[in-house]
Symmetry: C2
Subunit: 228 residues, 2 copies
C-alpha cells in the first residue's frame, strides 16, 4: 500500500445515522467526542475519508472505530455539502445509514469517544452542524425502504416473533395494522422460517421466526417484490 494511504482527505467526511429498535421505540445512536473538534458535544459518528479508501469502506471503518459496530446493514444515504455546514472550512459529507440489532450491541466506544447513547427518534437533542437534518433525511428514507425492502429484520434479533415484527413496522411507519392481516401478508411472502417457541415469557409463548435471505433472493430473481 502506498505510504500516503492513511492520509485523511480534509474536505471529505462520512457520517452515519445508526438506527436501533428496542421493541417499543426507534432509536438513533449518538456519540460524544473525547477530542476536538466537537469535544463534549453529542453528534453523529463521523470522520474524514482516507486518501486511498472507497466510500463504503470508509463508512464501515468509521462506524467500527467510533462505536465498535461491525457487520451491520449499511447503505449510502445522501451527500450533504452546503458551503457552511461545517463552520471552520468546507467539508462535504457522504452520509450513510445503518441498521443494528440493538440487543446485540455492546457499546465499545473507541478512544476518541467518551460516551455513546441511544436516543429515541422523538426525543433527539439538538446536534451540531446539519446532523439533525441528516437524521430526518435518514428517517424519511427508512420509512420508505422498510416497506419495499426486507431490511426491517436487521433491526430485530435473529429470532423474532411476529408481534415484534409488526410492532417494528408500526413504530417506523407510525400507524397501526391489523394483526391477522399482517400475519397473513408476511407469512404469505414465504420468506420467514418458523423455529421453536419462546421460553420463559409470562404469558403464552409465541413462535419464533427468522428471515430467510436465500429464499428471498431466489424469489426476487423470479420477479417477486417485497412489499408491506
Amino acid at each position: 500500500m502506498a505510504k500516503n494511504s492513511n492520509q485523511i482527505i480534509k474536505n471529505l467526511s462520512t457520517d452515519c445515522v445508526i438506527f436501533g429498535f428496542d421493541n417499543s421505540e426507534l432509536k438513533v445512536l449518538v456519540i460524544k467526542l473525547a477530542v476536538e473538534p466537537g469535544k463534549g458535544e453529542w453528534a453523529l459518528p463521523g470522520s474524514n475519508i482516507l486518501q486511498e479508501e472507497n466510500l463504503d469502506i470508509a463508512a464501515k471503518r468509521v462506524l467500527k472505530e467510533l462505536t465498535g459496530l461491525d457487520n451491520v446493514y449499511m447503505e449510502q444515504l445522501y451527500t450533504f455539502g452546503d458551503v457552511y455546514r461545517f463552520p471552520l472550512f468546507r467539508v462535504v459529507t457522504v452520509a450513510y445509514f445503518a441498521l443494528v440489532k440493538i440487543e446485540d450491541y455492546k457499546p465499545e466506544p473507541g478512544p476518541k469517544v467518551s460516551d455513546a447513547q441511544w436516543f429515541s427518534i422523538k426525543k433527539l437533542p439538538k446536534l451540531p452542524f446539519d446532523h439533525n437534518e441528516i437524521i430526518n433525511y435518514a428517517l424519511k428514507r427508512l420509512k420508505q425502504r422498510v416497506r419495499i425492502r426486507p431490511i426491517g429484520f436487521e433491526l430485530l434479533p435473529l429470532k423474532f416473533t411476529l408481534s415484534q415484527l409488526q410492532n417494528l413496522y408500526e413504530t417506523i411507519m407510525d400507524f397501526d395494522m391489523d394483526k391477522r392481516n399482517f400475519r397473513k401478508k408476511i407469512l404469505g411472502m414465504n420468506v420467514l422460517v418458523p423455529l421453536e417457541k419462546q421460553k420463559g415469557v409470562p404469558h403464552r409463548a409465541a413462535k419464533l421466526y427468522r428471515f430467510d435471505k436465500r429464499k428471498y433472493d431466489s424469489l426476487k430473481e423470479k420477479g417477486y417484490n417485497f412489499e408491506i
Copy 2:
C-alpha cells in the same frame, strides 16, 4: 463574495445523467470535451465543484456551462468515490440526474465542449471512468421514481397527449400497458388539465393535456400518493 469563491475543489466533482425522450426512445445526453483532460472522448457532462458553491448549485452550473440547459428537473443521484475511478488522482463525484424536454433542447455547448449528442439508452458507447455505471444507476433510479413521483412529465412537452404519456411509461418501465386502463388511472388522479386538440396530424387529432402541479401538490398534502 470571497476572492477564492471561484477556486475549484480538486478532488470533488459533479456529473450529470441527462435523460430525454423522443417519443420512441429514452436517451442520454453525452458530450465530447474540447479540452483536456478527456479531450475528444464522449463522457457525461461533469466538472469540479467550486469552493464556495453548494452541491445542487454546482450541478446546475455545470449543466448550464456544458450543455446550455437551464431550469430542468434535477435530483441528486448517488456519490461515486472509488479510489481509482479517475486514474490520475482521487476524485469523488456527486452524481445527479436531470430530466429534459428533448424538443425544447437546442444544444448550446459551451466553449469546453466540441460536441453533444443524444444516445439511446440501448446503444450507449463505452464511456470513460465509471460513467457507464453511473448511467445504469440513474436508469434504475428513474425506473423506480417515475412510478411513484409525477416526474415523467418533465420528459414531455408542456402539452402532451395521453398516448405520448403512456408511451413514455412503457418505454421507461419496459412493458406494455392497456390503453383504457392507463387512461382511467391517470385521468382518475385528477392532476391533468385537458386542453385543446392537436392540429395537423395525419390521423384523428388527440386531446392535449398538461400536468397541473398545483393540483398535485394540494392532493399530496391531503395524503394522496401518486402511483402508476
